[in-house]
Subunit: 489 residues, 2 copies
């Protein structure tokens, strides 16, 4: 049986939930596949309405949901209410995306008999993948990267049914969210939920599963990839695995704002963000150092989401302990509580301990690396693993040239004078990056995340009456089409 | 040493070429990576001019090139001249694609402080992958899917340097093409060439290689995937592996045209096309059967590209020999010559021998499966492996409904009243499909093939002076941008 645990007390909360066995996974995936056939055939305009109904249902249950999730995660009311709103917002964005239709990349090339050889009429658009999408929920976002998270919203929007493997950190929240979403969907079986580690393995190896989304650790991602490699027919694996999110503070940056912003971003949600600033390069100097010490000492820790995550943090901090401790926050309260810790080293010492010292330590820990001259940074930044984000602080963009160029190679999102925690859900967002930040070049947040669940089909000399509406010359759905080489919005 | 062989005589032709050793591969990849940095920074308009210079250079050398390739492949003047033209045309198409700029998917979301939380300014576009693209050349297209083929053209267009592993079927042609392309490029090292099986393995495992393209067999594709799985940092593998290309002839189809079209498509280029029609479902009846026998008996075989390919064909024909022989063409001439062969079975017999009988037999062999009623086809078509193409012949589209739907799930390109051989190079082409037709949902032919060599970057509150031109509000390059949710072409 699977139990939720209160990170503040360590006690079990909610109902004991059975692990889904092999027959159960098969039944749930098969039901999703069956519902998917009807969903796939549903016009985009109707799918959009259904996505908005899911958003409404989540918002309507926010009072109940935040409390349930708080018992299992201790993330608190403000954060969890905000996260439910964000989760509903993701469904609303994808309703817009599928109404717009640009994501289908409709292309029409009319026949050209004057060419050698003569060119037939060729039309192309993307369609939903033919099967079920498996989603592995994350620990740290019980709503926005979980049962009704961005992977689920984007896959449903594309036209795919989804089966989610719940995260053991919030099993009861997962069940409740699944029930709410299922009731709001025209075909409840479009969303299935399985519980337990073995159920996750069975899920990703099920023949009806055609793609998998995952947010978690490098080790977890490698384990799922290995299961996929054993499949007869391989499937794409969209994993977001790990990120240190380097920050470079230029000499022109304002000391005070950098110190307080850093401390706040580092300790938000007990540092349990994949975009947590785990590494910051600062110019040598007492003023910034003092400001950082003061800001970090003003923070407080808190309980982490689960025992395994807390143990991982303590292990990571021990590894960072080979560097000098710069400052620590106040210890948090609760049985799984940890203390924010910031370590420091000069550039040479840090570089000598790469690559190990550059690995992510999930939680409120970071390394402040001091440099003498901005021009010394390049060779060290080039050695960093891929990250979801890279940030520059400064008031003179001209100062950033070389650093910006190198960071652009190592991260999927570049931020100026901000902090990486907080990922805006919008058309332009990219939440991905070079390995191990992500396993592919796709994003898991924002409008273009829908591309993960699509594949193109070309139609050659295909009869008008059999063509999809999206590829007809009359363009009855008024979607963007590229016609004979020219994009028409 | 590596030698070219004349398929007509079995004799060696051209110069003996050394296999590229490990140090050689490293040197070539490193030179490509170095040239890539400058190429990547070259504006798209200038890259387009360079691509057109390559096209011009290939066209200018067509007299020499077709003769060289004919010695190594026996594909003949008409086909090889056409293939050089097509290869040049691919470079011209990609010049258009990068001038247009839509492939960058530029998106601008302006800041919105009215939202909770306030949304920063976020902009996103795609960039060339940061490193070298490895291309494994195909046996059956010495130009269009080889050193200067579609993978190379699309990767260079994207902004990536390329190192090609030559196919042993045409080593001298490969060297000559590489020299012509290198001389036409502003940085010759943007195209490297390696020879030999071990060199291919070293190439795909080189740390500077960031993606690989491949056209070949399922076994070959699996071998490369295995090498990639051993890498520390995984890379995307775009493979086009195998395809039977089912054709369904509806009762309304004209008998004579189907029979002659089939025989011509089957035996074109000694059947050495990945889009060869390896399986055709026809209504029972003597008239079509007689027409097919007559058409096939009117064909002639020819020498295949290499001994290994000839042996593979003979093995495949032996496997198909468990069915009844319907007709065969005249034997071809030359030491590697084979005979076209068409086998037949009724739907039940064919279905009983799946999946083995449904595997590709590379060369001029096919199976004609007879059915009683169109409605009997569905369960059998559903069991077929993924294909690059699926074709329907008929005069009444209404008759095709169910068949069209099922074939749409099993193939990347649907063709009406045509033949799958011949892949138009245009914006809308999709040359891919469900496994094993392709390893991903990307195409290897047509404008969208460029997407394989790109990854997005998001810029958050990024200073105007550091933004790429493509993401500036003034849109100085006049490319398509999606601004605040609205696509502007």
């Amino acid at each position: 049986m699977i139990y939720g645990h209160d990170p503040r007390t360590g006690e079990t909360v909610g109902t004991a939930l059975p692990e889904t066995d092999g027959a159960g996974v098969d039944m749930i995936v098969s039901a999703a596949a069956a519902a998917g056939a009807a969903w796939r055939a549903t016009p985009a305009a109707e799918r959009a309405v259904a996505l908005e109904a899911v958003a409404d249902a989540l918002s309507a249950h926010v009072d109940e949901l935040w409390q349930l999730a708080d018992q299992e995660t201790a993330l608190g009311e403000v954060r969890l209410r905000g996260e439910v709103a964000r989760t509903a917002g993701q469904f609303r964005l994808f309703a817009q995306v599928i109404r717009d239709g640009g994501y289908l990349e409709a292309i029409i090339d009319h026949a050209d008999p004057s060419l050698t050889p003569p060119r037939p009429d060729v039309r192309r658009m993307k369609h939903a993948l033919q099967g079920v999408v498996a989603v592995f929920a994350a620990s740290n976002f019980p709503f926005a990267f979980s049962v009704a998270g961005g992977d689920t919203a984007s896959a449903l929007a594309a036209g795919c049914p989804v089966v989610v493997k719940a995260h053991p950190g919030h099993p009861n929240t997962s069940e409740r969210v699944a029930k709410i979403v299922r009731e709001a969907l025209p075909y409840p079986d479009l969303l299935g939920l399985v519980q337990g580690m073995q159920a996750g393995a069975d899920l990703v190896q099920h023949p009806s599963v055609v793609a998998a989304g995952f947010t978690g650790s490098v080790a977890g991602g490698k384990a799922i990839q290995k299961l996929i490699d054993e499949r007869e027919v391989p499937i794409p694996f969209y994993g977001e695995l790990g990120s240190v999110n380097p920050v470079v503070v230029l000499p022109s940056a304002p000391v005070k704002e950098v110190a307080t912003g850093f401390a706040a971003s580092l300790t938000l949600g007990v540092g349990q963000f994949c975009t947590n600033p785990g590494l910051m390069f600062v110019p040598e100097g007492d003023e910034l150092r003092k400001a950082l010490v003061e800001a970090v000492e003003g923070t407080a820790g808190g309980p982490m989401l689960a025992e395994r995550i807390r143990d991982g943090y303590l292990g990571g901090v021990e590894r960072l302990g080979q560097l000098q401790l710069l400052a620590e926050g106040k210890p948090g309260q609760g049985s799984l509580a940890v203390t924010p810790k910031v370590f420091t080293a000069d550039l040479e010492t840090f570089a000598s301990k790469l690559p190990e010292i550059g690995e992510e330590c999930f939680g409120p820990a970071s390394i402040v690396v001091t440099y003498r001259d901005v021009s010394d940074l390049r060779p060290v930044l080039e050695q960093l693993d891929g990250s979801l984000t890279a940030t520059i602080h400064g008031t003179e963009p001209g100062e950033a040239g070389e650093v910006a160029e190198v960071l652009g190679k190592r991260a999927g999102r570049l931020i100026w004078n901000g902090w990486p925690t907080g990922v805006a859900v919008c058309w332009a967002m990219h939440h991905g990056g070079p390995w191990p930040a992500a396993t592919t070049s796709y994003t898991s947040v924002g409008a273009t995340a829908i591309g993960r669940w699509l594949a193109p089909t070309a139609y050659q000399d295909w009869p008008e009456e059999l063509l999809p509406e999206e590829l007809k010359d009359a363009n009855p759905l008024s979607i963007p089409q590229r016609v004979d080489g020219r994009l028409q919005a």
